[in-house]
């Protein structure tokens, strides 16, 4: 085994894929946003698009909307990584780490609420 390639266990696989897919989706959205920004607005817009206006702005092909969504996917990725780990630990019947993951996820969601308050 020494020097051989590491074989990922189920939890590692989940973490790897969630982070990779989250990253790629986020980068793709930001790429689209930058192209739209350069073509339609001659640069990047400031601020971010508010959540309630995001869908309409995306449909309009608004650069800021794609950039905002890209950033949101990026920020959401660690949340999904913890949620994915929780599921993977549950499948391995590792109750202790299901609880640990749940605690981390709860605290992270609490911070979302604190950001709004």
């Amino acid at each position: 085994m020494a020097g051989g390639r590491h074989v990922m266990d189920p939890v590692e696989k989940v973490v790897h894929w969630v982070l990779l897919v989250g990253l790629l989706v986020s980068v793709a959205l930001m790429g689209v946003g930058i192209v739209l920004g350069l073509v339609r607005h001659d640069g990047l817009p400031s601020g971010v698009v508010a959540p309630d206006q995001l869908r309409a702005a995306l449909a309009d092909g608004d650069a800021a909307a794609y950039l905002t969504l890209g950033l949101l996917v990026l920020v959401a990725t660690p949340f999904l990584r913890v949620a994915g780990s929780l599921v993977a630990f549950a499948r391995e019947r590792d109750g202790r780490y299901v609880l640990v993951s749940a605690a981390v996820l709860t605290l992270m969601c609490l911070s979302v609420l604190l950001g709004r308050a």
């Binding site: 990922m8 973490v15 982070l19 990047l44 601020g47 971010v48 605690a103 981390v104 709004r116």
Partner: protein, 267 residues
């Protein structure tokens, strides 16, 4: 053009951040405030978002190599997220000058702490959160366990707190906590710290996001630049000793510290 300049700065931050096991925020925040005139809280929010990008990108390498201790990371994340929440809430409420002053102090600490990183710990079996990995440099299998878990967890609270407060991943604190205090070998420590900074930074980022401190013009080029840099960093870190880069970074951090301290005093 500002967009390209921020992108280039972030590439540099990504390379050094992932190579020495910090998130890159330590470079992003001072550069954005000093060179690009960003308000400190916008710079912190931008940094937190870049740090998330660094973490996600580097993990795709570290997890595949089996270096990351996922159970240890998740356990300590309870404490770092708690700390990050307290830090984030404090940061959005206090004046930017206070944050600049704290940042200047942390810069000096990080420059100093980099100096002290000499040898690695001797791995020992402890029965706590044991893991094994194959050292990419030597090809040897390393088995280790965690020491002093409770102390490490307690200290992680402060690492998370600093992170949420001034926009770092907190790797500069997590690395000595795990390596020196908890006896985790350096390669596994850097990988696990890198995993944790993603969660810590995301926790802080949503607080700043909700309060309107995230700005596309800064966050997008910074995130994309740091992604490119962080992609390159782990590949380089596997092969070479980062001593030269470390010294350059130390000098830079001290310069940043002085400039930020001056701005804190001048207001």
């Amino acid at each position: 053009m500002t967009l390209v300049a921020i992108f280039a700065m972030a590439v540099f931050a990504g390379v050094v951040g992932s190579m020495v096991g910090v998130g890159g925020g330590i470079v992003v925040v001072p550069m954005l405030t000093l060179a690009f005139g960003a308000p400190i809280k916008v710079a912190i929010a931008t940094s937190l978002i870049s740090v998330i990008a660094t973490s996600s990108a580097a993990q795709t390498v570290f997890v595949t190599k089996g270096l990351t201790n996922l159970r240890l990371g998740m356990s300590l994340e309870i404490m770092t997220t708690l700390g990050a929440i307290a830090g984030g809430v404090t940061a959005v409420l206090v004046s930017g000058r206070v944050l600049q002053g704290v940042f200047a102090v942390v810069l000096v600490y990080v420059a100093y702490a980099m100096n002290r990183r000499g040898g690695d710990v001797r791995p020992e079996r402890t029965g706590v959160l044991e893991a094994t990995f194959v050292d990419p440099a030597s090809g040897r299998r390393v088995e280790y366990g965690v020491r002093r878990f409770k102390l490490g967890a307690f200290l992680s609270l402060f690492a998370g707190n600093i992170s949420g407060l001034i926009g770092l991943g907190g790797g500069a604190f997590k690395v000595p906590i795990m390596n020196v205090v908890m006896g985790v070998p350096l390669k596994a420590t850097i990988a696990t710290s890198n995993l944790m900074i993603g969660v810590t930074a995301a926790t802080g980022a949503v607080i700043f996001y909700g309060r309107g401190f995230v700005d596309i013009r800064y966050a997008v080029p910074a995130a994309l630049g740091i992604l490119l840099g962080a992609r390159l960093g782990p590949l380089l870190a596997m092969r070479l000793r980062s001593r030269t880069l470390g010294v350059i970074l130390q000098v830079l951090l001290v310069v940043f510290a002085v400039l930020m301290a001056v701005r804190t005093v001048q207001g």
